[in-house]
C-alpha cells in the first residue's frame, strides 16, 4: 500500500494491488529504468525475477513486463510498459541487472526489439534465421514448418467428420456460419 503511494508520488504511473503478493504497475516507456532503479535501490527489490514481452498486434504495441521481487517483504512488482511495435526500441537495463542481458538478447531475436547499448552476439537461440522474428504474432509457425520441413506422406486419406456427414446429407453450410465450424 505504502509502496504504491510512494511510487505514485515519485512517478507518474498507474498502480494497483493484484493479490496478496503482487503489485501491478503501468508506466511509460521512458520511466521504466528509473522506476526499476528506484525500486531496487530504495525499496529493496533487488531480485529481477522475470522479464516478458507480449505482442499486442491489434494495438500495434509490444508490452514489456518487468517482474521484480523483494526478498524481505516477499512482494512482487509487475511493471508493464508499452512500446511501439513498428519501431520497437527499449532502454537497455543490463546495467541494473546483468541477467536482463539474456532476456534482452532473447527479445531482440524473438521479437525484433532493439536495445541500444546491448553488448552481445546477435545470434542467440536461432541460427541463420532470415525470416521475421518468430515470436511475433504475425509469424505463422505452422505455415513456415509446412513449407520448410517435409511431412511424412501416408495420411492423406483422412476425412473430416463434418464433411463426411455433409456428403451424406447434402447440407450446405453458408459462409457466415463457417467461422463457427469446428476447427
Amino acid at each position: 500500500m505504502d509502496l504504491i503511494h510512494n511510487l505514485k508520488e515519485v512517478f507518474e504511473i498507474d498502480a494497483k494491488i493484484k493479490n496478496d503478493f503482487q503489485i501491478e504497475v503501468e508506466a511509460k516507456k521512458e520511466l521504466v529504468s528509473s522506476i526499476l532503479l528506484y525500486l531496487k535501490n530504495q525499496h529493496g527489490f533487488i531480485h529481477l525475477d522475470h522479464m516478458s514481452c507480449v505482442d499486442w498486434i491489434e494495438d500495434e504495441v509490444f508490452e514489456l513486463v518487468y517482474i521484480v521481487w523483494n526478498p524481505n517483504t516477499k512482494k512482487t512488482v509487475l511493471l508493464h510498459t508499452k512500446i511501439d511495435r513498428n519501431k520497437p526500441e527499449m532502454e537497455n537495463i543490463d546495467t541494473i541487472w546483468d541477467q536482463a542481458n539474456t532476456y534482452e538478447r532473447e527479445f531482440r531475436e524473438m521479437y525484433g526489439i532493439e536495445f541500444p547499448g546491448l553488448v552481445a552476439e546477435r545470434e542467440f537461440i536461432l541460427e541463420g534465421w532470415t525470416e521475421m522474428p518468430p515470436m511475433r504474432r504475425d509469424f505463422d509457425t505452422k505455415k513456415y514448418a509446412e513449407e520448410t520441413y517435409a511431412t511424412r506422406p501416408g495420411r492423406e486419406n483422412a476425412e473430416d467428420v463434418r464433411e463426411k456427414i455433409i456428403k451424406r446429407t447434402g447440407e450446405e453450410i453458408p459462409d457466415f456460419a463457417k467461422k463457427y465450424s469446428r476447427d
Binding site: 511424412r152 495420411r155 467428420v161 463434418r162 463426411k164 446429407t169 457466415f176 456460419a177 469446428r182
Partner: protein
C-alpha cells in the same frame, strides 16, 4: 581438515558391500516389470461403440489423429462411419483423446512397445489393428474422469401444481448464462445434423451461442429453418437422439438452445434485421402453395427469398396448420408462431386465409396459374377407435379436441377423461384436459417405455398427476341412456415377444375392467383428406397406403405438383420433417424453374 582424513577414505569403502547383494536389475526382456494399471500406451478403440464423432481428432493438438473410413463400417445416423487412426509419429500419449471421448470407446492400453525400421509403420487404427489389446486396457475415462460434461443444464419449468391451472408455458427457457453453459457442452461433432430432417447447422449455431454471438446463431438457424422458434419449443429433436454425449450421458439440449437463441429476437422486425437474408431479384414465376402449415410456410418463405411470387392458400383463419391447432398453448404460445409468420410476410410471402381449396378456390385454378404448386395439406381426419359405441356423445378425436382448446374455447369434457393413445398428441390431450380441470386417465396398449411420446412430455404428464394406464386395450364405450359417455371397458394386456421382434400386447382373457368417465379422447392418429383434389388429379396421384408418394425432391406423380408435410410418405410425421419437405421442395422447384 586434518592432514589425514581417515574416515573420509574408509567410509566410502563400505559401498563395496553392495557387491554381495542381489542386483536390482530387471532382466528384460526375459522378465518384465508390471506395467501400471493406468499406463498410457497405445490406443484401443471399441469400433462398435465408437460413433466417429471426431472429438479425439479435435482435441489432439499434434494432429496425430485422422478420421478414416473403414471398409467394414458403414455410417448411419449417429455414426459418421469414420474411425480414428493414430499416427504414432505424432502422438504424445497425453490421453486427452481418451478423456474427451464421449462414447468411452477410445482407451489406452498397457501396450507401448513398437520397434521397427520402417518409419511408415507407425500409423495404426486402434481396434482394427490391435483387437487383442482389448484385454489390456489401462488408461480409461469413466464418467467421473471424462472431460465431457455429461449433465445437461436443467431446464427450469413451472411447478406442476401451478402449471395445471393455466395455459402458461411450462418450460421457461434458458437464460443467457444457462444457455452459454449448455452450449459449451457441445463438442461440435455434427453427428446431429444427419438425423435432423432439415440438416440444420447445429454445431455452428451452438458454437455461436457459446461464443456469446446470439445474432450469428439466429442468422445461422434461419438459414434453413423458418420456424425455429416453434422448433425450439416443440421439436421432436431427433438430433438429440444421436448426440455424441447421449451415448453415456445427457444429450446437449439442442432444442432449448435453439429456443433460447430465437426468442432473443423479440419481434418480426428484429428477426428481419438480424437475419438479413439474401433476397434474390423477383422473377416472373409464380408458385402456389396449399396449406400454411410448417411445410407450406417453409416452401413459401424460401421461395420468396429466391424471388418467386408466392401465394399461400389456407383454409383456417390463422397460419401454422397443425402447429397452431394441434399443439397446446402451454407448449407453443400463439405469439411465437405469429411472430415468425409476420416476418415471413415481410419477406414477401402472401397468405390467403379462410380460403379453402376446393371450395373457395379450385385446385385447378391454382395449378393452371402457377409454375409450380406445393401442397402441404397435412392430416385432418382422425382415425376412429373402431370399438363399439364410439359414436357416443363425449367421444372426441384429438384433432377436434385440441382444435377447440387452441381456439380458445372450453370443450365440455366433464370431470373424468380417458385419453386413448400413447403419442405426443395423446399426452397433449391429457395435459390439456388436466388444465380444464379434469381427472385424466390415459390408456395405452403397451408399456410406458414403449410410448412414442417424448419422455420429457410423459414425465411432465406424470408430474401433473395424469394416470397413465399402460397395457390396456379399450374394447367398448359405455354410454348412458342419453347417449352420453359413461365409461369405457378395456382389457388388460400382457407383452408377448415373438420371434425377437418388438413385444406385442396381447389381451388377457377375462380381464375386462370398466372405468367410469365423462369423456373419451381418441388420440391414435390422423389421416389425410384429399377432397380438395379434383377427381382426375386424385386418380393420377400415386399413393403409398394413404399418403402421397413423392420422390426425393418431394415431387408427386403429377408434373409440377410438389407435396410435403404429414400428408406425404417421406420421413416422419412431425413439424421438422414438414419443414424439411418444404425446404427440399424449394430447392427442387428452384432447380426446375431456374434450370440450375
Amino acid at each position: 581438515m586434518s592432514i589425514l582424513n581417515l574416515k573420509g577414505i574408509l567410509t566410502p569403502l563400505t559401498a563395496l558391500k553392495q557387491m554381495g547383494k542381489e542386483p536390482h536389475t530387471i532382466n528384460f526382456p526375459d522378465e518384465q516389470k508390471n506395467i501400471s494399471k493406468i499406463y498410457r500406451g497405445f490406443h484401443h478403440n471399441d469400433l462398435d461403440l465408437c460413433i466417429g464423432c471426431g472429438n479425439c481428432e479435435t482435441i489432439c493438438m499434434n494432429d496425430a489423429i485422422d478420421m478414416i473410413s473403414l471398409a467394414e463400417i458403414a455410417g448411419e445416423p449417429g455414426d459418421s462411419g469414420l474411425r480414428p487412426r493414430i499416427d504414432y509419429g505424432r502422438c504424445c500419449y497425453c490421453a486427452l483423446c481418451v478423456d474427451v471421448c464421449p462414447s468411452g470407446s477410445l482407451n489406452m492400453t498397457s501396450e507401448f512397445m513398437k520397434v521397427t525400421p520402417d518409419p511408415y509403420d507407425f500409423l495404426m487404427t486402434p481396434g482394427k489393428d490391435n483387437p487383442e489389446a482389448v484385454d489390456k486396457l489401462s488408461f480409461t475415462a469413466d464418467m467421473d474422469t471424462s472431460l465431457n460434461l455429461f449433465d445437461r443444464v436443467p431446464m427450469r419449468e413451472l411447478d406442476p401444481e401451478e402449471r395445471v391451472k393455466s395455459f402458461a408455458e411450462v418450460f421457461l427457457g434458458y437464460n443467457e448464462e444457462e444457455a452459454r453453459i449448455e452450449a459449451n457442452r457441445c463438442i461440435s461433432c455434427g453427428l446431429c445434423t444427419e438425423n435432423c430432417p432439415v440438416h440444420m447447422h447445429i454445431p455452428e449455431y451452438i458454437n455461436a451461442i457459446a461464443n456469446a454471438d446470439d445474432e450469428a446463431a439466429i442468422k445461422i438457424i434461419y438459414d434453413n429453418n423458418d420456424l425455429p422458434e416453434m422448433c425450439g419449443k416443440v421439436c421432436t429433436r431427433r438430433c438429440e437422439d444421436v448426440c455424441a454425449l447421449q451415448v453415456r450421458g445427457e444429450a446437449v439440449a439442442i432444442r432449448w438452445l435453439k429456443g433460447y437463441a430465437t426468442t432473443r429476437a423479440e419481434n418480426a422486425e428484429m428477426i428481419a434485421e438480424i437475419v438479413k437474408p439474401e433476397v434474390r431479384e423477383p422473377n416472373q414465376y409464380k408458385v402456389g402453395i396449399i396449406g400454411a402449415g410448417p411445410a407450406g410456410l417453409t416452401a413459401g418463405y424460401y421461395l420468396a427469398l429466391k424471388g418467386y411470387d408466392i401465394t399461400i392458400y389456407e383454409a383456417q383463419k390463422d397460419p401454422g396448420g397443425m402447429i397452431m391447432y394441434g399443439i397446446p398453448k402451454y407448449r407453443l404460445p400463439y405469439d411465437s408462431i405469429q411472430k415468425q409468420v409476420d416476418y415471413m410476410k415481410k419477406m414477401g410471402v402472401k397468405i390467403h386465409f379462410n380460403t379453402k381449396v376446393g371450395k373457395d378456390i379450385s385446385f385447378n385454378e391454382i395449378y393452371d396459374n402457377s409454375d409450380a404448386v406445393f401442397m402441404g395439406i397435412g392430416l385432418q381426419d382422425a382415425w376412429s377407435l373402431g370399438i363399439q359405441d364410439e359414436d357416443a356423445e363425449g367421444v372426441w378425436s384429438a384433432v377436434e379436441f385440441l382444435g377447440k382448446a387452441n381456439a380458445g374455447e372450453t370443450p365440455d369434457i366433464g370431470k373424468r377423461v380417458v385419453v386413448v393413445g400413447g403419442g405426443d398428441v395423446s399426452i397433449d390431450c391429457s395435459r390439456v384436459s388436466k388444465r380444464f380441470g379434469a381427472d385424466v386417465f390415459q390408456s395405452y396398449r403397451r408399456r410406458i417405455q414403449d410410448m412414442p411420446a417424448d419422455p420429457e412430455e410423459i414425465e411432465g404428464a406424470e408430474q401433473e398427476h395424469i394416470h397413465i394406464m399402460p397395457q390396456t386395450i379399450p374394447t367398448r364405450v359405455i354410454k348412458d341412456e342419453k347417449g352420453h359417455v359413461k365409461g369405457m371397458e378395456y382389457l388388460k394386456a400382457e407383452m408377448v415377444s415373438e420371434g425377437g421382434g418388438r413385444p406385442r400386447p396381447v389381451a388377457i382373457e377375462g380381464s375386462e375392467t370398466i372405468i367410469e368417465c365423462d369423456a373419451i379422447i381418441a388420440a391414435i392418429g390422423q389421416k389425410a383428406n384429399y377432397e380438395l383434389l379434383p377427381k382426375e388429379i386424385a386418380d393420377k396421384l400415386e399413393m403409398v397406403k394413404d399418403k402421397i408418394k413423392v420422390n426425393e425432391d418431394r415431387l408427386t406423380s403429377i408434373p409440377k405438383l410438389f407435396a410435403g408435410g404429414d400428408a406425404v410418405k417421406f420421413g416422419n410425421s412431425d413439424a421438422i420433417s414438414a419443414i424439411a419437405d418444404g425446404y427440399a421442395a424449394t430447392k427442387a422447384i428452384d432447380k426446375m424453374l431456374m434450370g440450375k
